[in-house]
């Protein structure tokens, strides 16, 4: 138990800091942190699949983008819609596509699975990009941001910030609860040795499919928030660069840990801002893809356990090899 306290403390401190941040930040800062929080929810959704269940999905952007597009497409013309049905609807669309994608992809294993999820995401991309459903290759605008009666108006930046933070805390809490439950332990077993789980009596396919749908719905939540924040969606949100970016976030942060998704989203967006900033890189800033590519390669090569594992990696280097690393049953925080 004593190993978990610092992790709980870190997570709680992070949420408190996020709650207090608007008091000291300007518009740019609030906008940036809002974006990071949305990406953190997106990253958490993928962490459930990759880190907890061991399913490397390279198509997470499909759920993110479909949630975003559903938000815009299901909103009536110029009147603000009710959050109470729009949000579940957006998550439902994303979850439904996850059900479809999962039902077919889970028939494959290993590298086929990775490629198949990528291809199914491309399918969604082309539907949005090429057909009239998606409203065109340039994207579409959200004309009125949703409200919840008189209580909540997401058109107001501070209220949106608060709602986003609440969603992040809710997502984190839900996943933490899930992972310590029987369902979560079964997912962990499937990740470590699916054959053993089947031999023991677990039908693994329904578990994996359930994880897929939950993951998809949560990514849809992130898509909803993104659409509301920017008021604009475009097909690139379903593109594989987006799927790659969110995968990098959770690897960078540290697989197998929920706080890794938080840290990874934070670090990735900040790094991107850094590389794109002309103040630091001058005219090279427009080639930020190069810096990003090199960083990705370096971080995968040098930080096998991500940023979360960095303190241990350093102390191992400094103090020689201590006890080999092992998970406790509830290390996933």
């Amino acid at each position: 138990m004593s190993r978990s306290v610092p992790k709980y403390a870190f997570v709680i401190a992070a949420f408190v800091a996020l709650a207090l941040y608007p008091l000291v930040a300007g518009k740019y800062g609030i906008d940036l942190i809002s974006k990071i929080m949305v990406y953190a929810i997106f990253a958490l959704s993928l962490e459930l699949l990759v880190g907890s269940t061991g399913l490397v999905c390279f198509g997470q952007a499909a759920f993110f983008g479909l949630g975003a597009y559903a938000t815009v497409l299901l909103s009536p013309g110029y009147e603000p819609s009710s959050l109470l049905w729009l949000l579940p609807a957006a998550m439902g669309v994303a979850g439904a596509y996850a059900l479809f994608m999962g039902a077919l992809s889970l028939r494959t294993k290993g590298v086929y699975f990775i490629m198949v999820t990528l291809a199914f995401a491309q399918m969604a991309f082309y539907v949005i990009h090429d057909t009239p459903l998606g409203g065109g290759t340039d994207g579409i605008y959200l004309n009125a941001k949703p409200i919840m009666g008189a209580l909540l108006d997401l058109d107001r930046p501070m209220q949106l910030y608060g709602f986003t933070l609440a969603s992040l805390i809710g997502t984190f809490g839900l996943l933490a609860l899930l992972l310590q439950s029987r369902f979560g332990r079964a997912l962990a077993g499937i990740r470590v040795n699916e054959q053993r789980m089947r031999a023991t009596g677990f039908s693994t396919y329904p578990y994996k499919l359930a994880a897929f749908v939950i993951s998809g719905a949560l990514a849809g939540l992130a898509g909803f928030l993104f659409a509301v924040k920017d008021g604009f969606v475009n097909p690139e949100m379903l593109g594989w660069h987006q799927s790659g970016a969110v995968l990098i976030m959770i690897i960078f942060g540290g697989l197998g840990h929920l706080r890794g998704a938080l840290i990874g989203a934070f670090a990735f967006v900040l790094l991107q801002e850094l590389f794109m900033s002309e103040a630091i890189f001058g005219s090279f800033a427009k080639h930020w893809h190069l810096s990003l590519g090199l960083t990705i390669i370096a971080s995968v090569a040098l930080l096998p356990r991500g940023l979360v594992g960095l303190p241990e990696q350093i102390s191992q280097r400094l103090g020689g090899l201590r006890n080999p690393r092992h998970e406790e049953a509830e290390d996933e925080l």
Binding site: V111, Y112, I114, M115, M123, D130, L290, T295, I296
Partner: protein
């Protein structure tokens, strides 16, 4: 549909499918034999196309060479590129997990794209078509078909035939086929596995780049071409079965047909049709149509 139109679409489907096969065969080989997922494979196709565009004037000025000379120079350069890349980067990926390979090669794509942007810009270019191939021949009474497209199909078929001969008739081919199904055994037989891998990788790169070079005059040279071809190649490999050349050929032709005729009959859904086909194949055979080899 008129017979002549139908014939033209068939020829187009064949040409697209064969070109796809050229690129996808490299991908499936590298995967089947070395066990590496290489997301940057599409970039080699793009590099080939940009080479055709950039090298043509240089080759013309230096020694008055034409199209074929440019192809030769490009081929040599891509083999070299493949060799160096395998030696400095890819050889470190063999023992890593698939997820790490995916990410590292994804980083490589970003680097290639940006290098291309810095060296050759982001504009769309045309590549010169050699005059002796730029005519058309008559199909029926009104239709004509460009000779160059037949040339592309011809080159791809010749290379496919060459691959078949190398695999089934030469010792190198035998070692490659054995390596695809049992790496350790090949190693224990005293084959220099490192050299084998380097050769296979360089060949894969060269095939993709050559496809790009040959396709450039008809498909033009533009920044996103690598990514586009990569995803379709994945579909080819998934449908055909990892490591199977036969599967890659069959899947490429299937995709060529579906895509070409899809564009004729359902232009808006054409992009999606290929994936629908993939879904159907996977429902039937979750590991693709053929096994490795």
């Amino acid at each position: 549909m008129e017979l002549a139109t139908f014939l033209i679409q068939c020829l187009n489907a064949l040409q697209y499918g064969l070109l796809l096969f050229l690129v996808a065969s490299g991908l499936t080989l590298i995967f089947g034999i070395m066990g590496v997922i290489n997301l940057a494979h599409g970039s080699f196709y793009m590099i080939g196309a940009y080479m055709a565009y950039a090298l043509a004037p240089i080759v013309a000025n230096t020694f008055g060479g034409g199209f074929i000379s440019t192809l030769m120079v490009g081929l040599v350069l891509s083999v070299l590129l493949g060799y160096v890349l395998e030696w400095t980067f890819f050889s470190f990926l063999y023992e890593r997990e698939h997820l790490q390979q995916v990410l590292m090669t994804y980083g490589l794509i970003l680097i290639f794209e940006e290098l291309r942007s810095m060296l050759l810009g982001d504009d769309v270019h045309g590549a010169p078509m050699p005059s002796w191939l730029s005519g058309s021949f008559a199909l029926g009474e009104i239709m004509t078909y460009p000779i160059y497209r037949l040339f592309v199909s011809g080159v791809c078929l010749a290379l496919a035939l060459g691959m078949y001969l190398v695999f089934s008739r030469t010792r190198l081919g035998m070692m490659i086929r054995a390596g695809a199904s049992n790496r350790e055994m090949v190693q224990s037989l005293g084959v220099d596995i490192k050299f084998l891998y380097r050769v296979v990788f360089a060949a894969g790169v060269a095939l993709a780049a050559l496809a790009g070079m040959v396709a450039a005059p008809v498909s033009s040279v533009y920044p996103g071409m690598g990514n586009q071809v990569l995803i379709i190649c994945f579909v080819v490999v998934v449908i055909g079965g990892i490591g199977s050349i036969r599967g890659a050929m069959l899947a490429s032709l299937m995709i060529g047909l579906v895509d070409t005729f899809g564009n004729v009959f359902f232009p808006q859904a054409a992009g999606v049709l290929v994936y629908v086909m993939m879904a159907l194949v996977l429902l039937w055979k979750p590991e693709g149509l053929f096994k490795a080899g």
